[in-house]
């Protein structure tokens, strides 16, 4: 990807409406990868693993572990997988880490760009659809084995309700009414959530169960990083509700994680 920037302010270029990706493309700056099937055989890129999200009475909680793996080895111990998308939504990523992080950055910029140009935020549905299109644009990479599957959640300001969306590799978008998980430990995390989930969970209960589900997944799945008390590495947890996006302080997650480990001993 080249880093050339226009030095002046081109006033007469065809306006790519309010889309930042359109703008990148008009400057030929959009991220592109040229990779043959043979390259993909030898390519080893770190993978982001387990993420999950669950709806509760007033919003959505999203939790992700911190481990990135490369084959059977640990590539990174402190990777961030859950990000704010804008003031009222959050996105979590699983799959090829490098591509996924770039996708998040582009998605964040896109939402902010639209908001500034139009003077209003995209609707939650609009954001979810846009992310679906971004996942679909990755399709050629999927055939090379480089998959990115995000989870997206946000607070629908029009309907006053928290919503959760999942995606498949070809950009299919599905709205979930309870919980979902993705990545290598996703199955275990879902199995855990299935046994504890209730629609009427309070914010606190949802947070506790989300953090516990990651720990449960780490019990079975080697690629999922459980609470690491020695190095003080804990899951990332965020919430989206009426007041917008907020991060759960690391202290709080650490406290919950210690309780969990204490229980299992």
């Amino acid at each position: 990807m080249s880093l050339d920037l226009p030095s002046g302010l081109p006033l007469n270029q065809p306006a790519p409406d309010a889309s930042f990706f359109g703008l990148l493309r008009s400057h030929d700056l959009q991220p592109t990868w040229e990779l043959g099937p043979a390259d993909a055989q030898t390519l080893r890129a770190p993978e982001a693993t387990t993420i999950l999200a669950l709806r509760y009475a007033d919003g959505v909680v999203m939790v992700g572990d911190r481990r990135a793996t490369e084959g059977h080895t640990i590539a990174h111990r402190r990777m961030q997988k859950v990000y704010p998308a804008d003031g009222f939504s959050a996105v979590a990523i699983a799959g090829t880490a490098g591509l996924a992080m770039e996708m998040v950055k582009l998605f964040q910029t896109e939402l902010e760009h639209y908001e500034k140009l139009e003077g209003a935020r995209l609707s939650l549905e609009g954001k979810a659809n846009h992310l679906a299109r971004m996942v679909r644009q990755q399709l050629p990479m999927v055939f090379q084995g480089l998959v990115v599957v995000p989870l997206f959640c946000g607070y629908d300001e029009a309907e006053s309700v928290g919503r959760l969306y999942t995606y498949d590799v070809v950009g299919g978008r599905y709205e979930e009414d309870d919980y979902s998980a993705s990545g290598s430990g996703g199955r275990e995390a879902k199995a855990y959530l299935r046994s504890v989930y209730r629609e009427s969970l309070s914010e606190e209960e949802a947070l506790i169960q989300g953090v516990a589900a990651i720990a449960a997944a780490a019990e079975q799945d080697t690629a999922t990083g459980g609470p690491d008390l020695r190095r003080e590495i804990y899951s990332t947890a965020v919430m989206v509700n009426r007041d917008g996006y907020s991060e759960v302080p690391e202290e709080r997650v650490a406290e919950l994680s210690r309780d969990l480990v204490g229980e299992s001993e």
Partner: protein, 226 residues
Amino acid sequence: MTLPYYVPPEQLMKDRAEFAQKGIAKGRSIIAVEYADGVLMLAENSSRALNKIGEIYDRMAFAGVGKYNEFEALRVAGIRHADLKGYSYGRSDVAAKSLANAYSQTLAAVFTESVKPYEIEILIVEVGDEAPGTSLFRVRYDGTLVDEEGFCAIGGQEDELTATMKERYEAGMDLRAAIRFAGEAFEAVEERQIGSDEWEAAVLDRTNGRRMFRRLDADEITAARS
């Protein structure tokens, strides 16, 4: 074939400048005032939909007077410039100085090359982590770039407003005091009361987190001015 009339360049520039100034003088002014936590921008604008003040980037804002379609095009171009730069490099690399320079180049080119100059004047505001890092850049219709300090006014009554503010300005006001200060300057120059729903106001405030831009609603302005 007839030859075009010869017009001396001095005359040409003078005519264009006069034309642009006439257009700008018709528009209502905007004031920017530095206060303890950032910068307040206040304009007299009865339209809720067509804004004169807008967010550019994390710590940068734009204000324009004159023809709406012309400064709106510049606002959009500025957001594109900033977002492209921030995405390609890092968020902290987006600076008002480079944007103000780009605006200055663009307006200068429009002034000399196009059939009609832009009838606008714009202001680019940037807030630093601490008060000394704050900049107010004013770009005129011909591309002239001026760096102001503390407060400034653009638009039709900029001279009167600047003179009024000079008398009363004191550094380190809080937001409420800044709203009162700017509102009184407008009313002193206009010699009339301005209703609370006729204002458009926004701040770049250091206490707002990453994106410092925030619009103020009528209630907030009324509360501060009462």
